[in-house]
Each structure stands twice: as structure tokens, then as C-alpha cells.
């Protein structure tokens, strides 16, 4: 389904959250992406994508209690929802189908 198809950056963000499991909030997500995908991510771009994914029901977020770190500010943790898992799986399947039998010289 076309509206379940994920953009590249959306896939990257979802995968980063999955990889981080329990510790997925803004800072580690960005680090994960920078480390593994080797691309710079601004905080603005990340949160706008996260908000969009949340609006679609692919991820959910909650606020942790403020701690002494980071100037007493709370963290917003993310979790991939079943809808997000489904969208990731569909997107991967689509790519697999497209790659099937393709050889790059």
C-alpha cells in the first residue's frame, strides 16, 4: 500500500529506535544514525520526522521524569508501534522483491 510506504529517512529513524530498544530518545537516536548511516542529522529534522511518524501511529512517545542531568529537563522516549513494524516489513519486502534477480555488474 502506497501510504504505508516509508521514506528512506523514516526507515532509518524507525530502525534506529528499534536498535536502541529501551534507551531510544533524541540524543542516542541521532548518534545511532550518525554512526551507522554515516549522515548528519539536525535536531529539527529528527523531531519533525518523529512527530510525523507519531501522527501516523508508527511510533509512540512518553516523557521520562526529569533527572539531574541535562539541566533538569525531561527526556522524550520513543517506541516503535506494531503499525510501524508492519510498515517497515512491507517496505523491506518491497525492496526485496525489487532486488530479486538484480545483479549489479
Amino acid at each position: 500500500m502506497s501510504d504505508q510506504h516509508l521514506g528512506e529517512f523514516e526507515q532509518i529513524v524507525l530502525l534506529a529506535i528499534l536498535r536502541l530498544a529501551e534507551s531510544a530518545y533524541g540524543v542516542p537516536i541521532r548518534h545511532e544514525i550518525e554512526k551507522r548511516a554515516d549522515r548528519k542529522v539536525t535536531v529539527g529534522a529528527l523531531y519533525s520526522t518523529l512527530d510525523r511518524l507519531e501522527a501516523k501511529g508508527y511510533v509512540s512517545s512518553w516523557f521520562a521524569d526529569p533527572t539531574g542531568e541535562r539541566g533538569g529537563r525531561s527526556r522524550r522516549y520513543f517506541r516503535v508501534e506494531p503499525l510501524g513494524i508492519e510498515a517497515l516489513a512491507l517496505t523491506k519486502e518491497m525492496f526485496d522483491r525489487m532486488w530479486k534477480g538484480v545483479r549489479l555488474a
Partner: protein, 873 residues
């Protein structure tokens, strides 16, 4: 040691993303900032990235907008009555505005229907009807137009002429354009059938040819190819039809539709003038040019101005015209007179339809406001849960956008229908031929409708949106307490609607009264029992001598016909068109134009115009006898104050250098209305037909019975006198008078339509407010009735509310009308803009409407069952 995060950047971020969201981002940034050990630039860049993302158009609108629109559509679908009412109100408002705009577009901006119309320019001369003489045109064309870097691809000489057209015994009065032979080539108009003019057609002495319009071809030849080669008669000459113009092309003078085109030099008066090689000043022509592809309008204007100055210096002339050339793009109505009339009508109509749209917007705002009241608790909850004011206001805006879009689409449908009606309602101007109004929907009209919809959406959502965003106070949690303030706001709306629509009604009533008033204007001549037949007695059938004999014989025959009291002949027809002549009271004074007519003996008797001094024209005023003239009172008073005008000399003729006719004043006639019923007294000179032969004349007959019944017998008499006689229209003088009132009658009917529409919309508004009050006070009414109030008391209580609002509205409307009606005074034929009858009439109509609009909800209130009402909630 890590430094502190930059304060400025952080504050900026918190401003941008208030609340939790900003806190999270600031927390993230701080954590990383500390981890990386500083980096001012990095921090700023991250904050900036939030700004950029936020400002991207997608983020600003798309996700939320879709949600808003979705929500709005759902709300509207759940309330179809409300949505339908609002959209119909808007559609009517937008529709009438777009219709009037279509007309304005047609009259002012519609380019000619030819290829690359933006390269065409009209070349006029200030203060003059024509641009230059035909010989000057040839010189301008030779020096300025052609290939090889000249500023114009071509210059066309043209002139609009009202003329006669005779096809196989059918005589019509038509409008035509006399053009230079390069007309079609420069304008790039193909011929639908046959051909356009060639340079050979322009040679003096060539066989005259004509090209018909698509309309004339259809009407006269049923679109048959056999029309090509047919001979038709225009004035005295025969012309061979050589082609038909493409459909949709009606000439250079829209909105007037030309019936045919002829080569300029085919006209007999032109041939006579050009036979004299020294004639430099006549005939006169207007110019239209196609600019060369590389040139700007400014450069083209400069070039033609300098060549014009050269030409005028090289060929000195007698008259010294000082007007400068004006070059303007050829769009819309080309004739300045048509433009002037159109500007006034357009301004009037656009302001009127603007008011109609305003009233429609107020209605929709009122509807939205009542929705605010219903959804107040919901909004308060959402506000408490953290929705921003802007977020809540956006609901209303989205609802407004959906309503406006629906209204605009429906409005275009209304426009489509209204355009057809309006095009039909455009009257044909008396003696100006057919007016063609091609009112078509195009991108400009659609853009206008969209703009009107957008503007109205902003207008009617503004105040409800503010209301929504205010829905935060604790009192809003309860369903009740809609609040006095908002109720008052709705009252103000109704008062405004009543006032505005009453103003339109008063304007309409004034114009209707003006039409009646104009009928009562004393025209200064007798109209009833009189009719006029336009006939053409010309060469080669008649010479001036035989023509005079024929007319004398015709008059005798007509006078002897049963049912005829008297008959006469004149050149012009009263209240239709007028002629003019240059008249001076001494040989050295500069001639001044005065209106004029050429009449046969008996004219003053037949039209019952009193001769105050001296005598009428007599059979003895002949070409050989001394020239005479009769002037009107105003002429006598202006020219010879406190003197006896009888026997004074008049030098008649416009050319100061040429010999002029010197006529003796034989009599003074009482002033009359000559061209229009509301004209101011004008100087007028009558000349005897015997001494100034014209063959295109009106036979005016006074009948003992109804003049309309005499049309057929008169036709018989005319045919009996000469079976080949060309007879054009036959109309009663009252018909001419009535036609001369077309403008005010047309405006009155349009204004009455719009006024009625405005009243209808305002009545819907009033109904809505009263009905809303009833709904709000159902419980109170129930209590009152339980306490013993009679139905009549309840009825009166509700009615009184509607009537009170109406009364205030009427008072405001009167004040408003008193202020603005002055602007209509040019159309009122002397009627006072504060005419009490019009004011009273319009107000009474409004009061009756208000009674009805309040009675319907009041009746519902009256039927409230106290038990049900008390259990309500």
C-alpha cells in the same frame, strides 16, 4: 570545562517551541553540548534547523491542514442544513460579483479576438474624436510601418459609421467600420468565407466591396455561400459581398457589434474629398497599429509622436489642433464614450454587488457564531488539554475555507446562469446598432471568484475564530451562558445587514421612481398620437430636386390618408439622435457648435412646439429665396441678450475660411428636449429642408387613433408612393422616448434585482438570529407559559425582538442612504436623491419582510409546550 549553553539560542528555541516540546529539544541539545564539550556554532545551527523545519511550507500547513479540512468537512456533513445555507448565501454573493466582474472584464480588459492582441495599440488624439486625416495616415503608415526596423508592423485607418444596409428590399440601420485595406492583414483576421480587402479595393474608382460579419451573414443569408458576389446597398451605393469575418469578431468598437466592413475609400464622401489633391484635413480617421515584434509600447509611442509632429510641420493646415497623440493597448471597449458610460455603470454595480457579498458574509459569520456557542464546551476542554488558541481558531478557518470553496464553485454556476441573463438584458442602444456582450467565464473570472471567496472567508471567519480561541474561560465549560456580548455582536450584524440591504432597496426604489419621473418630464413637444418612419430618398433614384418633389407629394398623400391629422418631415427623430451645425452671430466670431435639425414646413404644428416670435418655415422658403433659420429660446437668449432676435443674421458652417451660409432668423421656438429627457437647455437651430437637402429623413405623422395601429397602414402608403422606397424602422415617438431611458431603466432593474437579493439574504440573517434566540430561550418561554403567559404575549415578545433590530437597521440605513444617494443624482432625471416616497417604500417593504422573518420563529416559540421546555436539558 564545558561552557554553559548559549542563552540567546536557548531562549530563541523556547520561543519557537513553547512547552514540553521545547523543553525536550533543549534537554537533548544540552546533553550533547556537554558531551561534545561546547560548540557555539553547532548549537546555533541545531536551533536554526528547528526554525527551518518549522518554516517549511509543508510543516506549516500540510499535515495539520489536512486534518483541519477533514474535520471541517465532517462537521459540515453532519450539519447539511447549515452547510447548505451558508454555501448558497456565499454562492449568491460570489455569483453576482463574478457576473458583474465578467462584464467589467469584457468592457475594460478583454483583448480583441485576434492573434497576439497585446501587440495592438489604439492611437488617439486628446480632445478629438478622430486621430488624423486620411492623407496624414498614409504618410504615417509610409514612414512608420513595414519591415526593416520600423516601429510598426502596420497601421490601420478606421472609422465607425452608423449607416443603412439594404438587402433585397429589406432595409436596416446598422453599424459598420470603414477601414484601410490592410485591416485584416495587420489584425491577422482570416476570412471565414471569401476574402478580405486588397489594395485594389482601395483605388478610387474601383468597384465597392464589403465584408459581412458572421451575424449579418447568418441573419441575412442563412450562412449560405451564395452570399459571396451578392450586391447589397449601403446608403446610396451598391457594394459586392466578397467575404465573411470569422465568428466572434465584431470589430474594433466593442461592445458595439459591427455588421459589416467597407474600404474607407469606397465611401462617396471620401472619394469626393480625396478628388482634391490639396485636401489635407479631411476625411478624418482613427488609427490602430500592430507594433513590430521587438519594440516596446513607449518606444512606439515616441516614434509615432515625432513623425506626427514632422508630418504636421511639412504639411501646414488651416485648423490648428493642439491635441497630442495617445497610444494605449487595444483592450475592452475602445470608444471613450462607451468606456465612460461603462465606468460609471461598473462602479455602481460593483459597489452594489460588493454590498450583497458583504451581507452574505455576515450571514455566514452569524451561522459560524451560532456554531461557536454549540461547540464552546468542546473547545474549552481542548484548550484545557493544551491546544493552542491558534489551533482552535484554525478549526473555524478550515470550516470557512471549505464553505468558501463550495460557495465559489456554486458561485461560478450562478455566474454562468446570471451571465446569460445579463447578456440578454443589455439593451440595444437607440440608433447605435446592436450591442454584443459576450460574457464568458475565463481564467480572470475564475480568479476573481476565488479571490472573492478567499476575502469573504477571511471576513466571515475572523470574528468566530476569535470567539473560538477565547473559549478558555471557566464559564465556557457550561453549555449555557452564551454571553450577552456575543448576542450583542450578532445583533450588530443583523442591524448592519438591514441597513445595507435597505440602502440598496432605497437606491433601487429611487431609480424606479426616476424612470416614472422621467416619463413626467415635459419634453416640450407632443409625443402621443405620433409616429415616425425613417426613409431614404437618395441618388440614383432621386436627385435633390426630384427628391424634394417626391417628399412633397408623399406629405400630401399621407395627409390625405384617413386617420392622419398632420404630417411633417425632419432629419432627426426627437429623443433619438441629434445633428449639429456651427453657428456664429457675426462673421469674425469663432463658430460654436449648436444642436440642429433640418425640417419641413408644418414641423412645429405636427410636434406642437410653440413659435414664440416670428413665423414658421413656409413653402416659400426655397433654395432661391433668402436663407432662413429658426432658433430656440436658449439660443436667442445666449446670442442676443435683451435684443430682438428676429431678422438677425447667423453665419452657418464650421470652416472659418470657406464661405458660409448667412441665414436670417425668421422665428423663435420654445425650448424642447432634443436628445435626452434630462438634458439641460441647449442652443438649437432649425433649418428648412428645402434649403438644406437631406435624403435620410423621418416622416412624422400625427394620427387621430392609436399610432401603433397606424404602422401597417403607413407602410402601405409608403409602398404605394414608391415601391422601391427604402423604409427603415417605424416607431411611435413614445417608443423613442422610452428607448432614450434605457440606461436608467436597465440600472433600475439590475439594482432592483440586487436589492431584492440583498434583502433576501438579510432576511435569512434576521430569521437566523431570531430563531437562535427562540432556541436559546425555549426554557424561559416554557416557564413564562407555565406561569400563565398567553401565546400572544410570547409571540409579541419574539416579534418585538426582530422588529427592534429592524427598526435600528432602518434608522442606520436611512442615515447611510442620505449620505450615499447623492452619487446617484446623475441618473435620477432631476428627482431628489432624498425622495421621501422611495425611502418610505423601501422601508415598508423591509418592515413587511422583517415581520415575516421574525414571525416564523415566533410561531414556533408560541407552540412551545411548557412541560417539554421545562424538562429540556
Amino acid at each position: 570545562m564545558p561552557k554553559d549553553t548559549p542563552k540567546m539560542a536557548e531562549r530563541f528555541l523556547r520561543l519557537l517551541a513553547p512547552g514540553r516540546e521545547g523543553e525536550i529539544i533543549a534537554g537533548d541539545l544540552r546533553e550533547e553540548f556537554e558531551a561534545r564539550g561546547g560548540g557555539l556554532l553547532w548549537y546555533w545551527w541545531q536551533v536554526l534547523s528547528c526554525v527551518l523545519v518549522r518554516l517549511s511550507p509543508y510543516r506549516l500547513t500540510a499535515p495539520d491542514l489536512r486534518q483541519d479540512l477533514h474535520y471541517a468537512v465532517r462537521v459540515l456533513r453532519r450539519n447539511p442544513g447549515y452547510a447548505f445555507t451558508a454555501m448558497v448565501c456565499l454562492a449568491l454573493g460570489i455569483g453576482v460579483n463574478s457576473t458583474v466582474f465578467t462584464m467589467v472584464n469584457e468592457l475594460f480588459w478583454q483583448p480583441l479576438p485576434v492573434p497576439q492582441p497585446d501587440r495592438l495599440v489604439m492611437i488617439d488624439r486628446t480632445g478629438e474624436e478622430s486621430t488624423c486625416s486620411y492623407r496624414d495616415y498614409l504618410e504615417l503608415q509610409r514612414r512608420l510601418a513595414g519591415p526593416g526596423g520600423k516601429p510598426f508592423a502596420g497601421l490601420v485607418a478606421w472609422d465607425g459609421v452608423g449607416t443603412s444596409l439594404d438587402i433585397d428590399g429589406d432595409s436596416q440601420i446598422v453599424m459598420a467600420e470603414a477601414v484601410s485595406s490592410n485591416f485584416a492583414a495587420v489584425l491577422q483576421i482570416p476570412a471565414q468565407v471569401g476574402r478580405w480587402f486588397t489594395p485594389e479595393d482601395e483605388q478610387l474608382g474601383s468597384d465597392p466591396v464589403t465584408v459581412l460579419s458572421d451575424g449579418a451573414w447568418t441573419r441575412n443569408f442563412g450562412r449560405s455561400i451564395s452570399a459571396i458576389g451578392k450586391r447589397v446597398r449601403i446608403e446610396t451605393q451598391w457594394y459586392r459581398v466578397v467575404g465573411v469575418a470569422p465568428p466572434g469578431f465584431v470589430g474594433l468598437s466593442p461592445p458595439h457589434a459591427m455588421q459589416l466592413w467597407i474600404p474607407f475609400t469606397a465611401q462617396s464622401y471620401v472619394r469626393q474629398l480625396l478628388a482634391n489633391p490639396g485636401e489635407r484635413e479631411r476625411p478624418r480617421v482613427k488609427l490602430i497599429g500592430r507594433m513590430a515584434s521587438a519594440i516596446e509600447m513607449g518606444a512606439a509611442e515616441a516614434a509615432i509622436k515625432s513623425v506626427d509632429t514632422e508630418v504636421r510641420r511639412e504639411f501646414p493646415r488651416i485648423t490648428t489642433s493642439t491635441g497630442a497623440l495617445i497610444v494605449s493597448s487595444a483592450e475592452g471597449a475602445s470608444m471613450p464614450a462607451a468606456r465612460a458610460v461603462a465606468t460609471m455603470i461598473a462602479a455602481l454595480l460593483l459597489s452594489v454587488t460588493g454590498v450583497v457579498l458583504l451581507i452574505a458574509c455576515v450571514n455566514v459569520a452569524n451561522l459560524l457564531l451560532s456554531r461557536v456557542a454549540v461547540r464552546r464546551p468542546e473547545m474549552a476542554v481542548r484548550r484545557a488539554l493544551g491546544a493552542s488558541r491558534w489551533r482552535l481558531a484554525r478549526h473555524t478557518l478550515a470550516e470557512g475555507a471549505v464553505l468558501a470553496a463550495g460557495g465559489a464553485l456554486l458561485g461560478l454556476l450562478v455566474t454562468y446562469g446570471a451571465n446569460i441573463l445579463l447578456a440578454r438584458s443589455v439593451p440595444s442602444l437607440p440608433h447605435a446598432g446592436k450591442v454584443s456582450m459576450v460574457l464568458s467565464l475565463n481564467w480572470r473570472v475564475a480568479a476573481f471568484a476565488a479571490a472573492a471567496a478567499l476575502a469573504s472567508a477571511l471576513l466571515f471567519t475572523l470574528s468566530p475564530a476569535i470567539e473560538y480561541s477565547r473559549a478558555s474561560s471557566a464559564s465556557s465549560w457550561k453549555g449555557e451562558g452564551a454571553g450577552m456580548r456575543r448576542m450583542r455582536q450578532r445583533d450588530v450584524y443583523v442591524v448592519v445587514q438591514v441597513a445595507l440591504s435597505l440602502t440598496l432597496m432605497i437606491a433601487a426604489a429611487l431609480l424606479v421612481r426616476a424612470v416614472q419621473h422621467a416619463r413626467d418630464i415635459e419634453p416640450g413637444f407632443a409625443m402621443n398620437h405620433r409616429l415616425a418612419a425613417r426613409i431614404y430618398v437618395s441618388e440614383p433614384e432621386y436627385t435633390p430636386e426630384t427628391g424634394k418633389l417626391f417628399l412633397a407629394h408623399l406629405l400630401d398623400t399621407v395627409r390625405a390618408t384617413p386617420g392622419v391629422r398632420s404630417a411633417t418631415i425632419s432629419y432627426t427623430t426627437p429623443l433619438s439622435f441629434s445633428d449639429s451645425v456651427c453657428a456664429a452671430v457675426d462673421p469674425v466670431a469663432r463658430p460654436r457648435r449648436a444642436s440642429s435639425d433640418t425640417v419641413a414646413p408644418g414641423y412645429f404644428d405636427t410636434l406642437a412646439i410653440p413659435i414664440l416670435r416670428g413665423r414658421q418655415f413656409a413653402a416659400t422658403d426655397q433654395p432661391g429665396s433668402p436663407p432662413v433659420a429658426i432658433v430656440n429660446e436658449t439660443f436667442a437668449k445666449h446670442s442676443w441678450p435683451n435684443q430682438d432676435p428676429l431678422g438677425k443674421s447667423l453665419w452657418l458652417g464650421c470652416d472659418e475660411k470657406a464661405p458660409r451660409t448667412v441665414a436670417q432668423v425668421a422665428g423663435v421656438a420654445k425650448d424642447a428636449k432634443y436628445e435626452e429627457l434630462d438634458e439641460t437647455p441647449r442652443r438649437f437651430v432649425y433649418r428648412p429642408l428645402a434649403q438644406n437637402w437631406v435624403g435620410f429623413v423621418a416622416l412624422i405623422v400625427e394620427t387621430s387613433g392609436s399610432p401603433a395601429d397606424f404602422v401597417a397602414p403607413l407602410r402601405e402608403v409608403l409602398r404605394g408612393a414608391d415601391s422601391r422606397l427604402r423604409v427603415y424602422e417605424i416607431q411611435t415617438l413614445e417608443q423613442y422616448a422610452s428607448e432614450s431611458l434605457w440606461k436608467v431603466r436597465w440600472q433600475a432593474s439590475l439594482l432592483a434585482t440586487f436589492g431584492g437579493l440583498a434583502m433576501l439574504l438579510a432576511a435569512v440573517g434576521l430569521y437566523g438570529v431570531v430563531a437562535y434566540t427562540v432556541a436559546q430561550r425555549t426554557r424561559e418561554i416554557g416557564v413564562r407559559m407555565a406561569m400563565g403567559a398567553k401565546q400572544a404575549d410570547v409571540l409579541w415578545m419574539v416579534l418585538a425582538r426582530g422588529l427592534r433590530l429592524t427598526a435600528i437597521g432602518i434608522a442606520v440605513g436611512w442615515a447611510l442612504s442620505a449620505a450615499v444617494m447623492r452619487m446617484l443624482s446623475v441618473l435620477l432625471y432631476g428627482l431628489s436623491p432624498l425622495d421621501p416616497v422611495a425611502f418610505t417604500l423601501a422601508s415598508l417593504v423591509w418592515i413587511a419582510t422583517a415581520m415575516l422573518a421574525s414571525y416564523l420563529p415566533a410561531r414556533r416559540a408560541m407552540r412551545v409546550d411548557p412541560m417539554v421546555a421545562l424538562r429540556w436539558e
